[in-house]
């Protein structure tokens, strides 16, 4: 029997939430390692570079990531698409994080793929993928997405 998960988030209407530092969003690095597992499991330590921004369907999740001193930012799948940034939805992520992973979800360790999958489900995670964007355009795009 398939296990039911919440499916009420609507791509065309509902926001995507992100908890981050209050003064500014973490800057994505378009040329950084594209591994989904590395990004989701937060490997390579604090301040590591990543071409992704994590967002959630749930404001409460963003609040946990923002912490007491942070800020909650919001955007939408439509804004992301219009800005030319790739949107990897929760459903797509769950599809890529099976076994030893597929595409950018490929990883040498099936356990770590499964842990990443668990976090995607717990945090209702969607990724914004800046990997095709010129570094010089990032600030302007962030202003449009989260401004």
């Amino acid at each position: 029997m398939a296990i039911s998960t919440k499916t009420t988030w609507r791509q065309n209407r509902d926001p995507l939430w992100r908890g981050d530092a209050a003064p500014a969003l973490t800057h994505p690095t378009p040329t950084a390692n594209k591994s989904l597992v590395r990004h989701i499991l937060y490997l390579d330590g604090a301040g590591r570079s990543s071409p992704y921004h994590s967002t959630s369907e749930e404001q409460a999740v963003a609040q946990r990531f923002a912490g007491r001193d942070g800020r909650i930012y919001s955007t939408s799948a439509r804004k992301v698409r219009d800005a030319g940034v790739a949107h990897i939805s929760r459903i797509q992520l769950l599809g890529l994080l099976k076994g030893k992973g597929k595409g950018d979800g490929k990883w040498h360790n099936a356990l770590e793929v499964m842990q990443a999958r668990k976090y995607v489900e717990l945090w209702q995670e969607h990724l914004l993928d800046y990997s095709g964007i010129a570094a010089a355009r990032i600030d302007a795009i962030l202003a449009v997405l989260f401004g």
């Binding site: 296990i3 039911s4 998960t5 919440k6 530092a21 499991l41 937060y42 490997l43 390579d44 330590g45 604090a46 301040g47 369907e57 749930e58 409460a60 999740v61 946990r64 990531f65 912490g67 007491r68 001193d69 942070g70 099976k98 076994g99 030893k100 360790n109 099936a110 356990l111 770590e112 793929v113 499964m114 842990q115 999958r117 668990k118 976090y119 489900e121 717990l122 209702q124």
Partner: protein, 275 residues
């Protein structure tokens, strides 16, 4: 950055991603962690990774954060009284909680292995989580000491084996954070996490035994094999795998007579050895 915060560190044995008390406790710094998702230190030993990855991440983390004090993750500043407390009066909030009392007194009234024995005998998922977290940290520290051997984890793996075929029971009050998932799915994920944590600690000890000829080294890949074979994030599938494969592999790697023999060697009185 939740995953590199105190929430996901073995030295904070009162919490995991969704389970536990609202506040944490660090057995290294002997401090209550009021906002553990915002703090960290150079001791970080992640609960969710295989030991090789956890060690690699520990090295990255230690280069950035001091092990001497609790820091704020975002600013790296030293966490003050808004974030942590070592005030004994604040500990009284844990007095009526058997698991929290055992964790806050970890290694204080006896040896750490005695505290682990006490936790392993307690009922409930929070006690089991604390046992696994501190057990992982204990074995790693013993093995990294000069004369450390994989057998420092002998009793821990045996106590895990005794519970390996017991399904973790997650009470609603064990879940510490609100999630948008249906409660049944949250419980399923929490049960999966506990069952996988058991396999991870067994794998750690197998990893530490890899340089020996003992069969326990064959368990180094146990957790990863379970994930690879089950494919889906389902407690039922994982538990079936443990019943059909995991427990049998353990019993082959460490039969009871072998455990008893190694246990006797471990506890042989040094005076007896000299006779």
């Amino acid at each position: 950055m939740l995953l590199i915060s105190c929430v996901n560190c073995c030295f904070n044995a009162l919490q995991s991603d969704t389970l536990g008390t609202s506040m944490g406790f660090c057995v290294e710094h002997k401090k209550i962690l009021q906002t553990p998702s915002e703090t960290t230190c150079g001791h970080l030993l992640r609960k969710d990774l295989c030991i090789e990855s956890a060690e690699r991440e520990h090295t990255c983390h230690e280069a950035r954060f001091s092990p001497s004090y609790v820091s704020l993750l975002r600013t790296q500043n030293r966490a003050n009284g808004q974030y942590t407390s070592a005030n004994r009066a604040d500990f009284s909030g844990f007095d009526n909680d058997e698991v929290a009392t055992a964790v806050t007194s970890y290694g204080v009234f006896g040896t750490k292995i005695e505290s682990l024995s006490q936790l392993s005998a307690m009922n409930g998922t929070r006690a089991h989580l604390a046992f696994l977290s501190l057990g992982r940290a204990y074995v790693r520290r013993c093995v990294s000491s000069e004369k450390g051997k994989w057998t420092s984890g002998l009793h821990i793996v045996w106590w895990i084996r005794k519970k390996l075929l017991e399904e973790p029971v997650i009470e609603l009050q064990d879940i510490r954070v609100e999630m948008a998932l249906p409660p049944a799915r949250q419980q399923d994920l929490a049960r999966w996490s506990i069952a996988m944590f058991r396999l991870l600690v067994l794998s750690d000890v197998g990893f530490h035994a890899r340089a020996t000829s003992h069969q326990f080294r064959s368990l180094a890949s146990l957790a990863e094999d379970a994930a690879a074979d089950t494919q889906d994030l389902s407690f039922r599938k994982l538990f079936r795998w443990i019943r059909e494969h995991g427990a049998k592999r353990f019993d082959k790697a460490l039969p009871e007579h072998d455990y008893l023999k190694l246990s006797q060697q471990l506890h042989r009185d040094p005076i007896d050895q000299n006779r």
